[in-house]
Amino acid sequence: MKYLVILIALLATSLEVNASAKGAYELYQKDKTKTRDKKIAHELIESSYYFSAIPYINNYLEKNNEIDAELEADIETLVIKTGTMAVLNLDEKRLEGFNIPSISLILGTRLFNKEQSAKAYEILSRIPETHQFSAEAALIKGTIRNLERKNIEANNLYDACIKKASALEESSKGEKLKRYYDYLKETCIIRTARVKIEEKKYVEALETYEQIDKRSYKWPYILMDQAWAHYYLKDYNRALGLTTTYKSPLLESYFFPEAEVLMALSYYNLCLWDDSLKVVDHFYDVYQSKAQALKEILGKNKTSNTYFLDLYYADPEARGNLNPFIRNLITQTRKQVKFNLDLASLKAAKDELQLLKKLKNKNDFTEMLEGNLDSTISFISAKINYYIKKEIFTFINEIHKHSFSMFNLKLELLSKKRDEIYNAKALAATDRNRGSDVNVKRKTSQYYFDFNGSFWADELGDYSFGLQTACKDSSVAKK
């Protein structure tokens, strides 16, 4: 009985889809008015052919300036289902003329990424506070004010983002949508904590970070922020503990060259020159050669539109053989929202193409739809490929940037060691006490775990070293 109901439901859906596709075909054939493209797009959206509707929406907006309520709802649906591709072919000048929230969000984001912050802020301000896109708009606007060092305004916008995203999370029914709003909310919470660090309110910042659940997508990233806050509070042992957390097998795919620099800096501030030097040398051993290997891969495949996407689809062993970093880099990339949205779009577009191919009544209209969809699929593939390529490129740049920091630190370390030799002092490494509970600073809200050579998931984020400072001047090493 259950199967029969499902079968009937499936049949009914398929008939409905066919009927609406037929409706779109009839409009294509008979309608000669200037609103034809808009109507075809509406029919296609109604029958869930979202990607097929994109060219018609774009064509209509290219030639017409009016957007009625139905079209606004259609564009909003397209933005939710296909992302920023809804108005892909329209340039910024053209989009500026349309004052609807979905287009304002796309245009605002596009302008922000092109570093036209003032214009982006103005466009995003068009989105009403009650609208579902207002959480994202507040986040981007907050970022703009944050970059301009207008912290009060930035904080207000981040708070608005938290409130709106929380409300939307509660009211949303779909699990994915709930997760997205939760992600937005946490991003905005983290932003308020970062503003506090920028204002040197480190203790307050650390309290704010505690709001992020350890199971959150964002959690591995905030370890770095927290480590910096502890570093500026001169709790170098805690900073070391947090950066070491990235070495746990659970966080294997999260690697930040900056974490290595912070680790070396923390040892440096404890006047443990040899430990610091070991981290510096390890950085050069591990990262330099990998960066070179990645650079070669990038160079060889820079013109390909599919190479990096194919790497994503390749099995982990094949990826690992090529370069051990690739697997982890792709795992890290997979956790990015944009990548997941684009990948979901690619899958949805491919499914839609299959549906079109299965239609019984083929005609010039369905052929055109298939052709358009093929181009859209190629475009999305190239976009994801470019995204992975850019991630690798950014990673290489990060290594180079931090190599410079490490080089300076190494010079400082050698200079400190030389000074000690000149002053006939015994080098610290010879007689220092290797860790003790006495040196661990701990608040009542922080757990305490003994580290016995293995990482435990519930302990992550609470590690602290217990090293005794080797500085003669007990305050800090003279920088």
Partner: protein
């Protein structure tokens, strides 16, 4: 013509006479005594009584180590990765 010859002769004679005048020989004193003790110098004596070197801390050159004052890079990337 005669007059012209006379004038030319007179001019050349005058020039010759001037050259002869220039040939003057100056003579300076071969020996002079300057009594420094009787010379008076006005002003203050600035030279220190004895030589001293002020102790100062050795100059150290600080290299710029990594600081994290802002999160601009991370914040921008988060927006790029949003949609």
């Amino acid at each position: 013509m005669k007059i012209l010859i006379i004038i030319t002769a007179l001019l050349s004679f005058a020039a010759h006479a001037q050259e002869e005048k220039k040939n003057v020989i100056y003579k300076y004193k071969e020996y002079e005594i300057i009594d420094l003790g009787s010379l008076e110098i006005k002003g203050q004596i600035m030279a220190p009584g004895d030589l001293t070197v002020n102790e100062r801390e050795r100059q150290t050159f600080k290299r710029s180590l990594l600081e994290k004052n802002y999160f601009d890079f991370e914040n921008r990337r988060e927006i790029e990765n949003l949609r």
